[in-house]
Amino acid sequence: MALRMWASSTANALKLSCAAKAHLSSAFSLSRCFSTVLDGLKYAPTHEWVKHEGPVAIIGITDHAQDHLGEVVFVELPESGSTVSKGGSFGAVESVKATSDVNSPISGEVVEVNTKLTETPGLINTSPYDDGWMIKVKPSSPSDLESLMGPKEYTKFCEEEEVH
């Protein structure tokens, strides 16, 4: 799938994040200096992304989040079959000295978790939007997605967060 990237306009505020960029075309090489924000996804103010694919929504944390957290060394995920609530914590990522809650942007039932993250938690750093996905959820309320930010809004949100 071809993905269009939105590059942040505040190069100095958003840190270099090159690890996730290996799959990008040279046309977007300038954006390798910024945290990546992908088109086609929705974003929560707590820096999780959601990709709606048919009956299932895929959830992970953004490039901005993984960059600020540092090297992820452990990931705690829920069980399949459990329920998640919009805005509620569903797991955590540990990065060297800190454990950080990960919050679900939508409510629903967890139908699959990314078991690769047990052995290779660093996928969240190297591939936050692809191999580093965390859970797949069957949404219980389609309107949850509507209240989330689009790529442009999220980019602006990140810029404002860096400035303040």
Binding site: H68, E94, K97, A98, T99, E161
Partner: protein, 264 residues
């Protein structure tokens, strides 16, 4: 009103709890509860803990981090705490300082590990001004290149905790319960425990450190001294701590896995 409070009228409020010799499990349960159920800011200072205890981070694996046979033999308690970070052995020579804060407490401070860690070092720079060569080295507090304070954090949606175990003094024989971790800071340079750490008592007295920390916190916030018994959290706050003591069975199973790996 004290002079510090008068100077800080209008500063955000920080509840200060000073404890002495409270068991580390009780302290961690309190901290986890305040992080998850309170909406106030807290600074907790616990001057020593009663019994020597091994405390691992949230993802710690006993087989990789501790010498299980002597731990079992000597009935050394092992706790898995709710924050990240490494493994420590704490006792009466350890001084604990904890900050539990709302994410908007400090203007401009982003609720991520590095900014919080840097903020803490600014505060402790005030405490250790003129005392040793204090700095934050990667994620540790050091004098020169010797660690005397280990940090760990947990960050939730709206709050964060940053807690530190300061080695005011330690019992050399207790270090034998800990393995050299696979993941170590670069500046450690493969040094063993005794070559890597140092004692705060060689630099500052217990009371000076605690008074200095209280003063430094008071210069940033409006302090409200609180007693442990008077802490109130919302009555509808449901909470079960994740911090727990590992059972003998868990440690024995870890010892078996350690033996299986070494004979494989």
């Amino acid at each position: 009103m004290t002079k510090i409070q008068a100077q800080n009228v209008g500063s955000p409020l920080m509840n200060l709890i000073k404890l002495r010799g409270v068991p580390i499990l009780q302290q961690l349960h309190l901290e986890e509860k305040l992080l998850r159920t309170s909406s106030d800011n807290w600074c907790i200072i616990n001057d020593g803990t009663d019994d020597p205890t091994v405390v691992m981070g949230i993802s710690g694996k006993p087989a990789e981090l501790i010498e299980i046979e002597p731990v079992l033999q000597d009935h050394m308690p092992v706790i898995k705490r709710f924050t990240g970070g490494g493994t420590v052995i704490v006792d009466q020579g350890t001084i604990f300082v904890t900050f539990i804060c709302n994410k908007d407490l400090i203007p401009g401070l982003q609720p991520y590990p590095r900014p919080i860690m840097n903020w803490s070092s600014i505060l402790y720079n005030e405490v250790f001004r003129g005392i040793g060569k204090f700095s934050l080295r990667e994620n540790d507090y050091v004098f020169g290149d010797h660690k005397f304070g280990g940090n760990a954090q947990s960050i939730t949606k709206n709050r964060w905790i940053h807690h530190t175990s300061f080695l005011w003094d330690y019992d050399i024989k207790n270090m034998a319960y800990l393995k050299v971790p696979k993941r170590a800071p670069e500046y450690r340079l493969a040094r063993g425990h005794l070559d890597f750490i140092c004692c705060m008592k060689d630099y500052i007295s217990r009371s000076d450190f605690i008074d200095g920390t209280t003063k430094a916190v008071g210069s940033h916030f409006s302090l409200n001294s609180t007693q442990l018994a008077s802490i109130e959290v919302p009555s509808n706050a449901e909470f079960t701590p994740s911090t727990r003591l590992l059972s003998k069975q868990e440690l024995e199973a870890a010892a078996l896995s350690q033996t299986d790996e070494s004979s494989a």
